[in-house]
């Protein structure tokens, strides 16, 4: 579904990404791990069009998408969440989720004047949004302003928004950072459920390996902008190179 070929991105002399190739199969849950500064977020940024690649190709659903604008890539169904969530602070939780679906009828200024035209769609989207919020345990906060939300809920909301946006492939950047252990597991249970029920694909950056490794089918390990290791979770955990990258050479 997503294929990255020899992708590189330099910032001046710094090689944030240096020739990474990887594949994410449709309907899979793939993890991306690596020590701080290894280029994980840069990879997401390049894939979703926030940075142009210095070299290499990005393919999504058989289409080449490197060099497209972020909003064009988003509309193709490749949706990301941010490590530091970018939510609309003065809007309620529900509204934040409701903004995401593309091409809403009432979003055209002319149609906005005629409630009849968009009412139906709005009701349906609201129900859909509410169900997502319910699944993530955000239902009690539906009508609360985002600026009044706790950090963990903000993380969950960011994920809820990704789910609402007609995504086919979701890139989640540390979805459980700052979330309690049990909540984190619930979130991953939910991700598995979504994959099974809706056929979504997930590509997840995560530092909490103890949670991640129980859920993903395949893991890529980045280190200094290069692919260090890849494989099934138990293989990667045993990999000596990975252990060295994380805790230093022994």
């Amino acid at each position: 579904m997503l294929e990255v070929i020899d992708l590189a991105r330099y910032f001046g002399g710094i090689k944030a990404l240096d020739g990474v190739s990887l594949k994410v199969k449709k309907g899979s849950i793939v993890g991306l791990i690596g020590p701080n500064g290894s280029g994980k977020t840069t990879l997401f940024n390049v894939v979703t069009g926030f940075y142009e690649p210095t070299r290499g190709e990005v393919w999504f659903n058989g289409e080449r998408i490197d060099g497209l604008n972020p909003n064009e890539i988003y509309l193709k169904g490749l949706v990301r969440t941010f490590q530091i969530p970018r939510l609309f602070q003065s809007l309620s939780v529900l509204e934040n989720v409701l903004v995401t679906p593309p091409h809403q009828i009432g979003e055209s200024p002319l149609n906005a004047l005629f409630k009849k035209k968009w009412a139906n769609q709005e009701m349906n989207l609201a129900r859909q949004a509410f169900n997502i919020l319910k699944m993530l345990g955000l239902a009690p906060y539906t009508n609360i302003k985002v600026s009044d939300l706790s950090a963990a809920h903000i993380k969950l909301l960011e994920t809820a928004r990704g789910l609402m946006g007609g995504a086919k492939l979701l890139l989640l950047d540390e979805p459980t950072a700052g979330v309690a252990y049990t909540t984190a597991r619930e979130l991953f249970d939910f991700i598995v459920k979504l994959r099974d029920e809706k056929g979504l694909t997930f590509f997840i950056i995560e530092h909490r390996l103890e949670v991640l490794m129980d859920y993903v089918e395949y893991v890529y390990v980045l280190h200094n902008g290069k692919l260090l290791s890849e494989g099934k979770p138990d293989e990667v955990v045993e990999d000596k190179k990975v252990i060295e990258a994380y805790i230093g050479e022994g």
Binding site: S92, I105, L113, K115, E122, F130
Partner: protein, 347 residues
């Protein structure tokens, strides 16, 4: 004896209130909901007023077969004579002017904003501010519309009503009706999915862009609408005063409207109404006081600005959100959610 004409005062206040309320609601759409700092409101207000004055004066002279420059003394005399001859003409020109002005000022706003909406928000503010000033200076030197003298003797849409008190009263009512329509329009826009987008642009432009929304198009649409509405306020002003001149449209007018929006509450249409009601009231009162005590040591005319400044300071210190802070959007979404959760409980 100090004669204080209460009804006359109310009529002039209500007319001014209606006009300024339209302006502040249009500014509220831009800065309150969408976060676009429009420091050139007065430009579109002025264009509206000038369009109405020019179109009306020209049509009246043309229909009555009088050939003289619009700003000449003969024209003013002739306009006075033919103003009340044909009520249908007065009213239809009034309606026509409102429609034409809305479209033209809206289009000008759209064109002005076009190059600036894609860059930082400060650029828009500076561009329209300087556009307004340049336009004012240009109009001072533009002979066909009378230069610094401007145009006068513009036939009132209700000039055929002989009693001036009744005429002004009905006109005030018309202004208030236009204000009400503007209010309903703004509320409708603000409480729609488009209104939600306006707020997301204000909260985080980049994030809105990332969601696949066309941010410049949203901003341009808001700017079109707001400029068009400001133009309509200008039309109402031109007919109320019966004359226009360039120096009516100084940047201070824009900042007065800003004061109303800040004072009333950004992102709340009712706030814009209350803000403009109070500040125009202060304005009218100080005008009356000025007439009553011409020899006051400090001219109430200057006190007016001090009062407005004081109001702003007090607002920002004690109620920075304004008198009426922004309220959540009342879209259908919450109803749907209420139904959904209600259904769950029953099941």
């Amino acid at each position: 004896m100090l004669g204080f004409d209460v009804i006359g005062f109310l009529i002039s206040w209500l007319t001014l209130f209606g006009t300024y309320a339209i302006l502040s609601m249009s500014l509220n759409l831009e800065i309150g909901f969408t976060g676009m700092a429009d420091f050139g409101k007065v430009a579109f207000y002025g264009i509206g007023a000038y369009l109405a004055a020019t179109i009306t004066a020209f049509t009246f002279l043309f229909v009555n077969g009088i050939k003289c420059p619009l700003h000449s003394v003969e024209a003013i005399v002739a306009l006075k004579e033919c103003a009340s001859k044909n009520p249908a003409l007065n009213v239809s020109i009034f309606v026509l002017c409102i429609l034409i002005t809305f479209i033209i000022t809206g289009a000008i706003g759209y064109l002005i904003s076009y190059p600036t909406l894609r860059v930082g928000p400060a650029f828009l503010g500076i561009t329209v501010l300087s556009f307004g000033e340049l336009l004012r200076i240009f109009m001072r030197h533009f002979e066909p519309t009378g230069g610094t003298k401007g145009l006068a003797g513009i036939p009132h849409p209700l000039a055929w009503i002989p009693d001036p008190r009744l005429r002004d009263g009905i006109y005030a009512a018309i202004v208030l009706v236009v204000m009400l329509l503007t209010y309903l329009l703004s509320e409708k826009i603000a409480n729609s999915p488009f209104g939600r987008l306006m707020r997301t642009v204000r909260d985080d432009e980049i994030a809105t862009l990332c969601l696949g929304k066309h941010v410049p198009r949203i901003k341009a649409a808001v700017f079109f609408l707001a400029s068009g509405l400001a133009g309509i306020a200008g039309v109402l002003l031109a007919y109320y005063l019966g004359s226009v001149n360039p120096d009516m449209f100084v940047p201070a007018v824009t900042f007065n409207v800003w004061a109303m929006v800040i004072f009333g509450g950004m992102g709340n249409n009712k706030g814009a109404l209350i803000g403009s009601a109070i500040i125009t009231f202060v304005d009218r009162i100080s005008f009356v006081v000025n007439l009553l005590f011409p020899q006051a040591i400090i001219s109430p005319d200057y006190i007016r600005w001090m009062i407005v400044g004081l109001l702003i300071l007090i607002t920002l210190l004690f109620k920075p959100q304004g008198l009426m802070p922004e309220t959540p959007i009342k879209t259908l979404a919450l109803t749907a959610v209420a139904e959904e959760s209600g259904g769950e409980e029953n099941a």
